[in-house]
Symmetry: C2
């Protein structure tokens, strides 16, 4: 038996083709009895609408795409949660999620995306402060939202970590434990020079928080990976021997910090306190000791970005939805890496 079409359902339910369409889409009232007959026919035939035909006729595919950055840089746990959170949210709203590695770096690429009409909108992640994709997508007329946000986020939909608050929380925790000299280990120099949002905003946040609490403060950019972490932390100790605590936004480097500490015969948290920021607890729980962590609500952020996009897609053109800039705080996951500052 061939794949049933809408007309088959209509015949079986003794109604016009259009009535089936309206019953299914709900875009026009249909008498309860009629609708029931239709639904029964749908079930009996195992009918499922052809989404290509539907999309062609309605000019809406009910697909959104999540644009990944070049994965060579390596994708982490947090990014993965963005993806699953986004997928879940999309499906909950009746949309499908297309993954794409398209870096959208040229207008032509965006035009191709727009021209294909395959997707109704896009979500971009790993946003840089001057992300070229923002203007390109706008120019191409592709609705989009962001996980992260550019320098100027006004008038755009985005969902991002509240880095100011995260930094504040991190410093406050350390401060309340008596730490007066702290350090912040950031992402790599290249992420800063390319103005990667988290790198820049966390740096600002930590500077502000350090000033607010009046603690001595050092910061370092740090390549990903244990080796860089080890070197940077050694260097930090040399420059600031009074250091007693460090906030690390770079989980791969955190391993190196621990090694550096072990190396000098010191311990965590007796001699040094470590707090992981914007890392997944699934990762930091594996350290010895497990790291107290300010974990980003990654799945929520992914879901939120999708929801903002879809809501704006569904708003009537004559009454567009006001774009939202949402900032979500990291949540504290307790480990065993925080202790009172040692006395000199």
């Amino acid at each position: 038996m061939a794949k049933p079409r809408m007309v088959d359902v209509a015949n079986r339910a003794n109604v016009a083709l259009a009535t089936v369409s309206y019953a299914l889409s709900g875009r026009r009232p249909v008498a309860a009895a009629t609708r029931r007959r239709i639904m029964r026919a749908v079930e009996e035939l195992g009918y499922a609408p052809n989404s290509l035909a539907r999309g062609l006729a309605s000019k809406r595919s009910n697909i959104v795409t999540l644009l990944l950055r070049n994965p060579e840089r390596g994708i982490g746990f947090t990014e993965m949660e963005f993806v699953t959170g986004a997928t879940q949210a999309a499906e909950a709203l009746g949309y499908q999620l297309l993954l794409s590695l398209n870096d959208m770096s040229s207008l032509r690429q965006a035009e191709a995306l727009a021209g294909s009409r395959l997707v109704d909108g896009a979500v971009i992640m790993e946003v840089h402060l001057d992300d070229e994709r923002v203007s390109i997508l706008e120019e191409a007329g592709i609705p989009f939202s962001m996980i992260g946000r550019p320098r100027d986020s006004a008038g755009r939909n985005c969902a991002d970590i509240d880095f100011d608050r995260t930094a504040h929380d991190a410093v406050q925790h350390l401060y309340e434990l008596g730490h007066q000299s702290i350090a912040f280990l950031n992402h790599s120099p290249s992420t800063l020079s390319s103005a990667y949002g988290p790198t820049v905003r966390a740096e600002q946040g930590f500077r502000a928080a350090a000033a607010e609490f009046g603690v001595r403060y050092k910061e370092r950019l740090c390549g990903d990976g244990p080796d860089s972490g080890l070197l940077e932390f050694r260097d930090l100790l040399r420059e600031a021997p009074d250091l007693t605590a460090v906030a690390v936004m770079n989980d791969r480097a955190a391993a190196g910090v621990l090694r550096a500490i072990t190396e000098i015969g010191a311990g965590v948290p007796e001699d040094y306190s470590i707090i992981a920021v914007a890392s997944s607890a699934r990762v930091t729980e594996m350290f010895q000791p497990r790291l107290t962590t300010l974990e980003p609500p990654a799945a929520e952020l992914g879901g939120l970005a999708v929801r903002l996009l879809i809501e704006s897609l569904q708003a009537p053109p004559d009454d567009p939805r006001e774009p939202v800039q949402a900032l979500l705080p990291c949540r504290l996951v307790l480990g065993a890496s925080l202790g009172p500052a040692r006395v000199a």
Copy 2:
């Protein structure tokens, strides 16, 4: 200026619409000069084919879907690499990759997938030995391939880790270092009872390898997470005090193993050797010491599964491609967790 259609390109190039179609799809020879004119028109107009219309007419969407399992179970690094590898491979072949959380547990769901005609095929991951999805997809007539493989993989496309070889390699490494009493820490009991492929196959592989090398052998199923790892390893030590090495397939539990060892004042690799199997080195490099690891070629597996699917999709119906069951070995990533067996 409205979105250009194929007819616009045809007019501008002074050819019939059909010629443009053939020039673009290559499904019929087109004179070089004609084709050049067409391509120029395409560029000038910024034309991109409407994939919905194309799919409707051709009955092929050029989209494949990757079916994720319920992400509550938590998705790891390796899974993420499946996803990026699959995406990359799909795009390289001119396909798009749709992510779906659809668990395909009922025929109705599969029918809906098939009926929507949105995707030409599916890739399933986290395959269980008696995975219901296999028969359901087959019954629904949806072409698919697998990352992993069911009990009977004959006649099906799948790409999986070669667990026998991985276990053999792991045991051999330990054996050559003089270890005569080893243990294997597997995934959780629930994964075994649900016949999750890797759990079952690794268990078989390690038993065989232990027998082959004639070493004393213990095995444990182990919940994910450091706490379970700690408890299981303690228990293992109690039962087999002569133990000198352990292979761990569960990276979250590995942290607990290290803790258990630290706890008794022992060290790695002086007292105990640890080898991680089927884990991402990105994770195991973070341990102290970094774990020597047999890392699965996750991106390759994801890419391979997609390629097998698409190739079977593109084969002419009268000459179908023979299904392939590919087994890829894990590659060794050196850490510092392996040493010669201590002498009693």
